[in-house]
Amino acid sequence: MTAYVIRRLLWMIPLLWAVITITFILMHSVEGGPFDRERELPAPVVNALNKKYGLDKPVFSVDVWNSQYGQYVGDITPLKFDFPPFKSPDLGVSFRNSDQSVADLIRQGFWVSFQLGVLAFFFAVVVGMTLGSISALNHNGPIDYAGVFFSTAGASMPNFILAAFLIIIFSVELGWTDVLGWGGPAFHDAWNPAAWNLRKVVLPVVALGVLPAAYFARITRASMLEVLGQDYIRTARSKGLSEWVVIMRHTVKNAMVPILTVMGPYLAYLITGSFLIEHTFSIPGVGRRFVESVVVRDYGMIMGTIVFYTVFIAFINLIVDVLYAVVDPRIRYG
């Protein structure tokens, strides 16, 4: 297992290089640059800005280290031709956010997106798995139909539409919740319950969590139904085990593998930020920042966020693969 994990970690290096290279090519292939605005900047200003941000160099060049690509790869590589040979990776600055460090902007935004994503994920897991299990255990009954209705409806309704309805009802009409902002604590205050403002938390979490909850409910129901039809479940029942033990020990655990498979990517998806939910509720998350950076061609922010997402999702996938082995002893990694 250790060798497998190390091998997977080493594979991240060429993965990262490939992602950086492809993103760099795509980013610079798109028409328009960071200084193409509704209000045109005079040519001398564009020249000065290009110089300031190193965009006066060629994007690619045989003289690699004198190109924008070479400069970027050199900056984010934690190695240097010097002693000691290590340095901190530098993700550069954001052209459109006061020259703030991209790493700082990601750190600030990610903490908020992380809280929102984790809460939405737990909401989805609790609601989805509960609903899916109840549906499966009441197969073809009214409760099952209600569960299927929820999962179909939840999966087909865009979360920003749901968010708009929630805001109108719970904020504008009832006044129970706020429309704007995020009510999670700062990082240093993470374990302080008083630092949470539920008026700002509930709606975004629900709006973001309904779709995965619906999806988890469908997967859970299907997986549970398949396991409930297995011979070993019939055997367990014929041995006289209580229904609780049959369900919790033999059914749910064995039904978990396909659910876990979708949970990993969904967790990564939720945690890396939802542009629409963050945009609608004006939440200062990394998803909103990333989409805005693409729109305004903020090269530094685009590259930094892609690099961060790549590393993050690669780690999430690695963790999920390791969890497979924990949940299903038949899976072994050499």
Binding site: L49, T177, D178, L180
Partner: protein, 598 residues
């Protein structure tokens, strides 16, 4: 059917979370105080007067996040709005757009040739941290805008300051092109002589001298703009500045000093900026004679204006910009002149035409395209009547003419449009080439293009195509002059007609991408630019505007834009001080006048 289905889905989902939301309603509201939530409006409908302000109170308004706190760098409206709250220049504009002394003690002394300005500061000026505000701070501000390392986006308005262009253009080398072999290394050795040659000098602690290369009658207006604001050179980061390292302005509010009506207490990216009154501000510095009365001013960064309206309804905001797609609803809900207000913006939009693309070089073709568009209908369809239809480029408020002044020549008239097209050699559109309308990907821009396309088809019997691209691509193609028809326009930088004509419609103008070239316009511009007789030069620009507007020399104007705001009835200063100088919120050019009446 689908709506009914969605409502059922929504109700089902809502049922599932009602308990959670109800629980949330019982929770702590940590931000209640921070948000400055207000009680229900207590004033009667109508505008409160500026005298009604009480001492204290908290105001929370909608805004957009600034791109840069550095006034010598930025060019975005929301940045400029914030800069004017935090810093002020030697002069400020009053309600009539006239420059009046702010940090300066009096009007500038101008030499007989109109090229040397001597300005004396008020006595006892202080930064927010108590340090003295001196002439060298203003000199540093002007030099910082001219500095190529800082790459200020509005350097071009200082082009007449002796040495400023040479300093700024150093980066691109002798050929003026960045990225070429002759590029200059921006080090102190190469930049120091260029900086020294910029003719801005602190004669003593309270006297500044600025030399221009040509007379510029509008220079006092320029000295009221954000790119001339002072630098707190007493702060270590600026004290150690060199031409090659002019100091990072940064985004840490505590690491800066301010000379405007407010100081910035905190900034949370993507969320909000919180301001409070500057203890060293005096109402003498204000062009409207005001000092802040608010305890706290919070600018919430909100991109989605439809949700800003909901937050306004929910009393999380006390003032917000209005989403034009909801204009009619909001106007009816909040009452025109009660909580809803609009203000004519110094902006004109129209169909820009590339005169180098035949047949747009033909005046009759341009007139046909202009007269085929019903501006009233366009305004109603696209903006719910939110703007002011026009046929003049230069707005009346900035020295132009009434919006309908040229209607008889270029306004909507289907019969006249057909005749112009026939006179151009395309009777009933026969043989007319297919032109392309290049447009951005916003709903309003696409609706505008579709309206134009349909107008040309039904009135002139000609076909056009629509190319929809995102904003940077659209701007890039405009700059490269890769367009036929381009719905676009202009928002003024400062309230003078020269800002609407020079560089845009003169033949060598760097922003003249429509390729307008008319010797009469060139002649008028060349005279007006250096004419120190204000009445004469304004008339010269007015005459140039007439040629531009009636010959469609690059643009067929269709409307002047309006700004639309909502503000609670107990908020004072937003509706009272709305002018064309507004940046991101009504009256934000004089935000020291904002307050609460109860």
């Amino acid at each position: 059917m689908s709506l009914v289905k969605h409502w059922r889905l929504v109700l089902l989902s809502l049922f599932a979370i009602v308990a959670l939301a109800a629980f949330a309603a019982c929770g702590d509201d940590d931000d209640e105080g921070d948000d400055g939530e207000t009680a229900a409006p207590t004033s009667p409908a109508g505008s409160p007067s500026g005298d009604e302000r009480i001492d204290g109170g908290e105001l929370t308004i909608q805004g957009n996040e600034f791109q840069s706190l550095d006034p010598h760098f930025s060019s975005f409206a929301q940045d400029i709005s914030l800069h004017r709250m935090l810093w002020r220049g030697l002069y400020s504009l009053d309600m009539d757009n006239k420059p009046v002394p702010a940090m300066a003690a009096s009007d500038p002394e101008v030499s007989a040739d109109g090229m040397t300005y001597t300005i004396t500061l008020r006595d006892g000026l202080k930064w927010s941290d108590g340090d003295s505000l001196l002439a060298e701070d203003f000199v540093a501000g002007l030099l910082r805008t001219c500095n190529p390392v800082n790459a200020g986006e509005y350097q071009y308005v200082l082009t007449e300051v002796v040495g400023c262009d040479a300093f700024y253009n150093a980066a691109a080398g002798p050929d003026g092109e960045a990225g070429t072999a002759d590029d200059v290394t921006l080090d102190d050795a190469s930049l120091q002589p260029l900086q020294d040659a910029v003719a801005v000098t602190a004669i003593d602690d309270t006297t500044i001298e600025i030399k221009l290369s040509v007379p510029k009658p509008t220079f006092p207006i320029i000295l009221s703009l954000w790119m001339t604001f002072p630098v707190p050179v007493h702060l270590p980061r600026f004290a150690a500045a060199t031409p090659a390292a002019p100091g990072d302005w940064g985004t840490d509010p505590a690491a800066l000093a301010y000379n405007g009506p407010y100081v910035m207490d905190s900034y949370t990216p993507q969320l909000e900026g919180v301001l409070s009154p500057n203890p060293n501000w005096s109402e003498e510095y204000s062009s409207v004679g005001k000092a802040p009365t608010l305890d706290k001013l919070t600018v919430r960064y909100i991109d989605d204006l439809s949700q800003a309206a909901n937050a306004y309804r929910n009393d999380e905001l006390q003032a917000t910009d209005v989403d034009l797609t909801q204009l009619e609803t909001l106007r009816n809900e909040f009452g025109d002149g009660q909580e809803y207000f609009k203000q004519l913006a110094p902006s004109t939009r129209g169909v820009e035409m590339n005169l180098e693309h035949p047949p747009l070089d033909n005046l009759d073709v341009r007139l046909a395209l202009s007269r085929a568009v019903d501006r009233q209908a366009l305004n109603q369809v696209v903006t719910q009547g939110g703007n002011e239809p026009t046929t003049t480029w230069l707005p009346e408020v900035t020295g132009g003419v009434a919006p309908d002044e040229y209607d008889d020549i270029t306004g909507f008239d289907a019969t006249a449009a057909k005749k112009h097209l026939a006179d151009a050699g395309y009777p009933d559109g026969a043989g007319f080439p297919t032109l392309d309308i290049l447009v951005g990907d916003s709903p309003a821009a696409k609706a505008t293009a579709q309206f134009l396309q349909e107008s040309y088809r039904t009135v002139l019997n000609i076909e056009t195509t629509i190319t929809t691209v995102d904003s940077p691509t659209r701007s890039s193609r405009f700059r490269e002059e890769q367009f036929d028809l381009f719905p676009g326009g202009w928002i003024q930088d400062y309230p003078d007609p020269e800002n609407w004509i020079v560089g845009l419609y003169d033949t060598p103008g760097t922003l003249n991408h429509y390729n307008c070239s008319d010797p009469d316009i060139d002649d008028l511009v060349n005279k007006a630019k250096v004419n120190t007789n204000d009445t004469e030069r304004r008339q010269q620009y007015k005459d140039a505007n007439e040629i531009i507007s009636t010959t469609i020399c690059g643009i067929a104007p269709y409307w002047h834009e309006n700004n639309h705001w909502l503000r609670k009835s107990n908020v004072v200063g937003i509706s009272e001080y709305m002018t064309g100088q507004d940046g991101a919120m009504g009256g934000d050019w004089a935000a020291e006048a904002w307050g609460l009446s109860s």
